[in-house]
């Protein structure tokens, strides 16, 4: 008896540890990249970034003088993104976040499977049911179908998100003669650049 129980436990554990697949489509880790870029040639830097995004098979969803939000195919490496950003300006910060949706995907698969079984069971009740019972059953069928569709939708969303990298770039592009984050310890170095030069030119 104990051996049987142990065997069943192992089988259940193995089933629980099956790969995250549904209809053969794997769901990978969701990666987001955030960066802060300082550039005094904003339009040119943004154009270069947009060209790179398009060339990589991605697209942008938001672009203004402060932010760029875009999606890139997951196959594009974070190293490649960092190298491209460095070509477009001074990379102040660069960070990546990884989210593993494995647990949620497992939950969703279980929800879909159990709700589908439930749907079939409830359908069977339709046979021989009177009018009032039929209406109740139809309502229950609609509720179950909605839950299944929601779970499938979320799963599809996770699958799509894991096939893309989200890139958010914050731009700093103001020319300023004021002491900024790039203040150097050597005073004359802080005076170089266009505003400082034009000021010193008049002296």
């Amino acid at each position: 008896m104990n051996k049987k129980m142990s065997f069943l436990t192992v089988v259940i554990l193995l089933l629980g540890a099956r790969p995250l697949t549904l209809s053969g489509n794997e769901v990978g880790v969701i990666v987001e990249v955030g960066a802060e870029l300082r550039t005094l040639t904003l339009e040119r830097s943004q154009k270069e970034l947009l060209d790179y995004i398009e060339k990589s098979g991605g697209w942008f969803v938001q672009l203004n003088r402060y932010y760029l939000t875009a999606y890139l195919p997951a196959k594009v490496t974070t190293e490649e993104i960092a190298a491209t950003l460095r070509e477009c300006g001074y990379l102040i910060s660069f960070n990546t976040s990884h989210e593993n949706p494995a647990e949620r995907v497992n939950d969703l698969q279980l929800i879909i499977e159990s709700k589908s079984r439930h749907l079939n069971e409830v359908r069977k009740l339709l046979q021989g049911a009177n009018l009032r019972a039929t209406l109740d059953i139809e309502m229950e069928l609609a509720n179950i179908s909605r839950d299944i569709e929601n779970a499938k939708g979320e799963l599809a969303f996770l699958r799509q998100r894991s096939s893309l990298k989200k890139l958010t770039v914050r731009f700093t592009s103001e020319v300023s003669g004021e002491d900024g984050p790039s203040y150097s310890g050597f005073s004359w170095l802080n005076e170089i650049g266009i505003p400082g030069f034009l000021e010193r030119f008049e002296e």
Partner: protein, 149 residues
């Protein structure tokens, strides 16, 4: 008291005897009469050029100061378009040419660093990109004529 006054006068005399920076300017640039110890010039289209000197403190060599200049420009967001050594009459320098948007216009900004013992000399030039490009060749040519007496 007399010693202090004499010392002060001597220091003032030394400061007044600072080395003169010289350059042969092309016709496209007009030289300002003042200051006399450095070179200050402008073109009709507003491209400005001026030489400066700063104390070499803490003491560093050309490579150190040129790298510091480049790093400072990059950190501030300037796009480096050229970075190369230049040879003046008696000095060797390193040039950094950049581009940046300034007050809504695309500007070019150039800085060349020279180091001569106690002093760091710079030649800086800036102007709107379109007009700067017209005199760029002249600027690069005059860099070679820079000298300190």
């Amino acid at each position: 008291m007399n010693r202090i006054i004499i010392g002060g006068l001597f220091t003032a005399l030394l400061l007044n005897c600072q080395a003169t920076q010289k350059m042969m300017l092309p016709d496209s640039f007009v030289r300002y009469a003042k200051p006399q110890k450095s070179v200050k010039a402008i073109t009709a289209s507003g491209v400005r050029l001026k030489t400066f000197r700063f104390p070499n403190e803490p003491r560093g060599d050309l490579e150190l100061w040129a790298a510091s200049v480049r790093e400072q420009l990059e950190k501030t967001g300037y796009r480096i378009t050229a970075s190369e050594p230049v040879g003046a009459r008696t000095l060797k320098g390193i040039l950094n040419e950049t581009q940046a948007q300034y007050q809504g216009n695309e500007f070019s900004y150039l800085i060349v660093v020279f180091v001569q013992e106690d002093w760091v000399y710079t030649i800086e030039a800036a102007g709107e990109k379109a007009v700067y490009n017209k005199v760029r060749a002249d600027i690069l040519k005059v860099l070679e004529t820079f000298e300190v007496d």
